[in-house]
C-alpha cells in the first residue's frame, strides 16, 4: 500500500498528491512516470512524476479528474492509500550542459516539465519556462517554476494574466525575435504539442515532446501505447515518453487516445449514478 501523505485541491479539478513510495524515489529521474492503481478492481494509469523528496521518500503527482479512476482518486484524502504505485518508467530526459533550454507547459502539463527544467538548471543551462492556462486562477505551479527557471513567461487564453493567447504565442514571438534557443520541450495537450512542433520545424530547432498514449503495464508488454515516430512503430513506455516532436505522428496519437472513449463514458456514467444514489441516501438519512 502507498499512503497519500498530503493532498491539495488546486484549480480546475486538478489535485496535487504527495505519496509515500521510497523505492521509486531512489531511482526517479526527470521525465519519468509511474503507474498507479487505486483498488483491487481498479485500472492501471500512468502519471508523470512532478517531483520527489529523497529525505521523505515521497513522490509528487498532479492528477486531473476526467474519468472514473481520476475522479475516484480526487475523492481520496491524505491518510488514504493507493493499492499500487510502480516505476519509475520511461527513458529519463537527456540533459547536456551549454544549452538554452525552453520548456513549454500547457495546463497540468506544467507539472510534467517541472523536474526536467530543474535537471537542466542543475547542470547550469539557461532555462526559460513558458507556462500557460485558460485563465489566471487555473495556472499551476507558478512559484515552483520561478524557483528553477531563469525566466518564466506566462500566457492565458483570456488574457487575465501574462500574455493574452497561447503558450505558442510566446514561443512564436521568441523565435521571430531570434532569441537564442537550443532545445525546446513541450508537454501538454496534443494540439499544443503539435502546434509547437509546427512552429519550430521550419527553423530546425531541436524539439521534444512527452507523449501520453493509453498504457497498461509500462514495461513494453502490452503494445497499447504504440506511437509512430519517423514512420516507425515505437512503444511510448519503453522507447519514450520523450520523442523528436518533428517526427511524431500526432494525428495517430490523437486518434489512439480516443480508443476506449465509449467504454470510459459507460464506466463513468455508472460511477456517477452510484455516487448520486449514495448522496441521496446520505441526505435521506438526515
Amino acid at each position: 500500500m502507498y499512503p497519500i501523505v498530503e493532498k491539495n485541491d488546486l484549480a480546475a479539478k486538478v489535485y496535487r498528491y504527495v505519496i509515500k513510495a521510497p523505492q521509486i524515489v531512489k531511482k526517479a529521474r526527470a521525465g519519468q512516470f509511474v503507474i498507479l492503481r487505486l483498488h483491487e478492481e481498479g485500472e492501471r494509469i500512468p502519471i508523470t512524476l512532478a517531483d520527489w523528496d529523497a529525505v521523505q521518500g515521497t513522490i509528487t503527482l498532479y492528477v486531473q479528474a476526467v474519468g472514473k479512476t481520476t475522479t475516484m482518486m480526487s475523492m481520496m484524502k491524505a491518510g488514504d492509500s493507493l493499492m499500487d504505485v510502480v516505476g519509475p518508467f520511461g527513458v529519463p530526459s537527456h540533459v547536456e550542459p551549454g544549452k538554452t533550454f525552453v520548456a513549454i507547459g500547457g495546463g497540468f502539463g506544467i507539472a510534467a516539465i517541472h523536474p526536467i527544467v530543474r535537471a537542466h538548471k542543475l547542470i547550469g543551462n539557461k532555462t526559460i519556462s513558458i507556462i500557460g492556462s485558460r485563465s489566471k486562477d487555473l495556472l499551476l505551479m507558478e512559484d515552483e517554476m520561478r524557483a528553477i527557471s531563469d525566466e518564466v513567461r506566462i500566457a492565458t487564453d483570456d488574457g487575465s494574466y501574462g500574455t493574452k493567447g497561447f503558450v505558442t504565442t510566446i514561443l512564436k514571438s521568441m523565435l521571430e525575435q531570434r532569441e537564442p534557443v537550443d532545445v525546446v520541450l513541450a508537454i501538454g495537450p496534443v494540439v499544443m504539442m503539435k502546434a509547437v512542433a509546427d512552429l519550430t520545424r521550419p527553423l530546425g530547432v531541436q524539439t521534444l515532446v512527452s507523449l501520453n498514449p493509453i498504457m497498461m503495464d509500462g514495461t513494453g508488454m502490452c503494445g497499447a501505447c504504440r506511437v509512430v515516430v519517423g514512420n516507425k512503430m515505437k512503444f511510448a513506455c519503453v522507447d519514450g515518453p520523450e520523442f523528436d516532436a518533428h517526427a511524431v505522428d500526432f494525428e495517430l496519437l490523437m486518434a489512439r487516445q480516443k480508443m476506449y472513449s465509449p467504454q470510459e463514458k459507460i464506466s463513468f456514467d455508472i460511477f456517477e449514478k452510484i455516487c448520486e444514489a449514495q448522496e441521496h441516501r446520505e441526505t435521506a438519512a438526515w
Partner: protein, 463 residues
C-alpha cells in the same frame, strides 16, 4: 487394459461460451482411481523422460490407484511446484503422454488429468502438505519475474534453505498464468493457491517492482546483498505484422487484449472492473497458436461479441495450438478461416472497419519444415470486423538487457545461457521464454528447475 481412457467431464459448449468458468470439470475420485489403474507401472518409465521437470509419474499414479491421494500429492510436489497449473495447461500429448508405453496399443494414461485431480483434491480438502525444507543456508537469491520459470526456480531454492525474493513488475504474481491464460482454462484462484504455497515455503514476493527500472541487477547483487540472480522475465514484447493500418483503433496485440480481460478482470467491465475492454461485435484473431485460441475463446465469451474468427495462414495441420484447444474453440462456435492471410487493415476516421485478407495455398516446406503458404492471386476479400487481435508471437523485453552491462544476448534480444541457465554474467542465471523465445509453461518451469540446481551449487561453493 480393458478399461478405456476416462473422458473429461466438460461444461456444455453453448453454456460455457457465455461464461468464464472452467471448461473441463475434472475427474471424480472414482474416475481418477480407475484411470490410475490403467498405468502398468513400467520399470523404465518413458513418461518421466518426456516431462521437462521429471515428475515421478508412475509413483504418483500408483498412489492414486491405491486411493492414497495425500501421498500422491506429496510425490508430485517433490518435483513440481505448480501441479494444478501443469495438469491444466501442459501439452501432455506432446510430452509424458506421447511416450506412454500403453499408448502404442490403446490410448495413453491420462497423466495430465490425474495430476490435475491430485492437485485439486489437495487444495479442496485443505490439507496442503509442506515438503521438507532444508535448514537456512544464509544465502540470498533474487528471482526476477513471478511467471512459471521464476516461481519454479524460487520454490526449489526455498526448499534447499535459501532466502528467496521474487521481484514482479505487475501488481499480481503469476506472469503469463495471470495475464495471458484465461480464467476458463486456468482459474486464477488456482494460481493464487500455488503462489501462496510458495510463500509457505518462505519465498518473499515483491510486486510492483520492475528490475531494470526500480532497481538494476547490479544493485541487487552489489548493494542489496543477493548472492545470485535468476532472470525469468519471459517473452513480453508483442510482434505486429507490419501491414498497413495496424495502428488503427480496434487493432490489439493479444497481450493487450488478454491482459485487459484476464489480469484486469475486464470480463466484469463495466460493473465490477474499471479497465475497459474492446466492445466489438465482430472480432478476428490472427494466428494459430495457443495465444490465438485463448484470445478467440475469450472474445467469444464477452457478452457483446457475436462473431469470432481465427485467421491463420497455413492449414489446420500446421496449427501450433493444442488440439484440445482448437476443438474447444470449434465447439464454442469460433469460425476458422484457414489458409488465409491478412494483407491490410481498413479504417474509417481512425477506427477499424474491416480486414483485407487473401487466400493461401501450401507450397514447398520452408526453414521450419512446414509447407510454406503462398498467396493465391486475385483471392482478396474483406472481412467485416471492428476488432482484430494480433497473436503472431512475442519478442524479448529489453528492460533488463539494457540495464545489465555484460549480459550477452542474441540478435532477437534473448539472453544467451547454457544448459543450466548460466549467463555471461557471474552469479546471474536466466531461463524460460527470455532465453528460448516464446514457448510453453512447462518448458519455462523445466528451465527454472535446472537453474535452481545450478544456483544452489554456485552459492554453496561460494565462501
Amino acid at each position: 487394459m480393458k478399461i478405456p481412457r476416462h473422458g473429461m467431464p466438460e461444461q456444455d459448449p453453448l453454456e460455457r461460451a457465455k461464461n468464464f468458468l472452467e471448461v473441463p470439470l475434472g475427474y471424480t475420485a472414482e474416475m481418477a482411481v480407475e484411470e490410475a489403474e490403467r498405468c502398468i507401472q513400467c520399470k523404465n518409465p518413458k513418461c518421466m523422460e518426456g516431462c521437462p521437470v521429471n515428475v515421478k509419474i508412475p509413483q504418483f499414479i500408483f498412489h492414486v490407484a491405491m486411493g492414497n491421494f495425500p501421498l500422491a500429492a506429496q510425490t508430485l510436489k517433490e518435483t513440481n511446484a505448480l501441479p494444478a497449473v501443469c495438469g491444466r495447461v501442459c501439452p501432455q500429448e506432446e510430452q509424458c503422454e506421447a511416450v506412454c508405453t500403453i499408448g502404442a496399443k490403446v490410448e495413453p494414461v491420462a497423466i495430465g488429468r490425474l495430476e490435475r485431480f491430485v492437485a485439486d483434491w489437495e487444495r479442496m480438502t485443505g490439507n496442503v502438505s509442506l515438503p521438507v525444507i532444508a535448514p537456512p543456508t544464509g544465502k540470498k537469491i533474487a528471482v526476477i519475474g513471478a511467471g512459471p520459470a521464476g516461481l519454479t526456480c524460487a520454490g526449489d531454492l526455498a526448499k534447499l534453505g535459501h532466502a528467496v525474493t521474487i521481484f514482479e513488475a505487475l501488481h499480481k504474481p503469476g506472469g503469463v498464468l495471470v495475464y495471458g491464460i484465461p480464467e476458463f482454462r486456468l482459474p486464477k484462484q488456482i494460481v493464487d493457491a500455488e503462489v501462496s504455497f510458495l510463500e509457505k515455503l518462505g519465498v518473499t514476493i515483491q510486486c510492483d517492482f520492475v528490475v531494470g527500472m526500480t532497481r538494476t541487477v547490479d544493485e541487487l547483487m552489489n548493494e542489496d546483498g543477493f548472492d545470485a540472480v535468476f532472470i525469468g522475465t519471459g517473452a513480453g514484447l508483442p510482434y505486429f505484422m507490419g501491414i498497413p493500418g495496424e495502428n488503427l483503433n480496434g487493432v490489439y496485440s493479444a497481450n493487450e487484449f488478454l491482459t485487459r480481460v484476464n489480469l484486469m478482470k475486464g470480463f466484469e467491465f463495466p460493473n465490477h472492473a474499471d479497465t475497459p475492454v474492446p466492445m466489438a461485435k465482430h472480432v478476428a484473431v490472427i494466428g494459430g497458436g495457443n495465444t490465438a485460441m485463448d484470445s478467440a475463446r475469450t472474445a467469444r465469451r464477452l457478452p457483446w461479441t457475436e462473431k469470432v474468427y481465427i485467421v491463420y495462414r497455413r492449414s489446420s495441420v500446421e496449427m501450433p495450438a493444442r488440439k484440445e484447444e482448437i476443438h474447444h474453440g470449434e465447439q464454442e462456435g469460433i469460425e476458422f478461416l484457414l489458409l488465409t492471410n491478412p494483407t491490410r487493415f481498413i479504417g474509417n476516421n481512425g477506427w477499424l472497419v474491416g480486414m483485407e485478407c487473401q487466400k493461401m495455398e501450401l507450397g514447398e516446406p520452408d526453414a521450419s519444415g512446414r509447407r510454406k503458404p503462398v498467396p493465391v492471386a486475385g483471392s482478396e476479400f474483406v472481412l467485416d470486423v471492428e476488432a482484430v487481435i494480433v497473436a503472431t508471437g512475442n519478442g524479448s523485453n529489453p528492460l533488463i538487457n539494457k540495464t545489465t552491462p555484460g549480459l550477452t544476448t542474441n540478435k532477437y534480444g534473448n539472453i544467451i545461457a547454457d544448459e543450466t541457465g548460466k549467463t555471461s554474467r557471474e552469479g546471474v542465471w536466466a531461463g524460460g521464454d527470455i532465453v528460448i523465445g516464446a514457448a510453453t509453461v512447462i518448458k519455462a518451469m523445466g528451465a527454472g528447475k535446472k537453474a535452481a540446481a545450478a544456483i544452489h551449487e554456485y552459492v554453496q561453493s561460494k565462501k
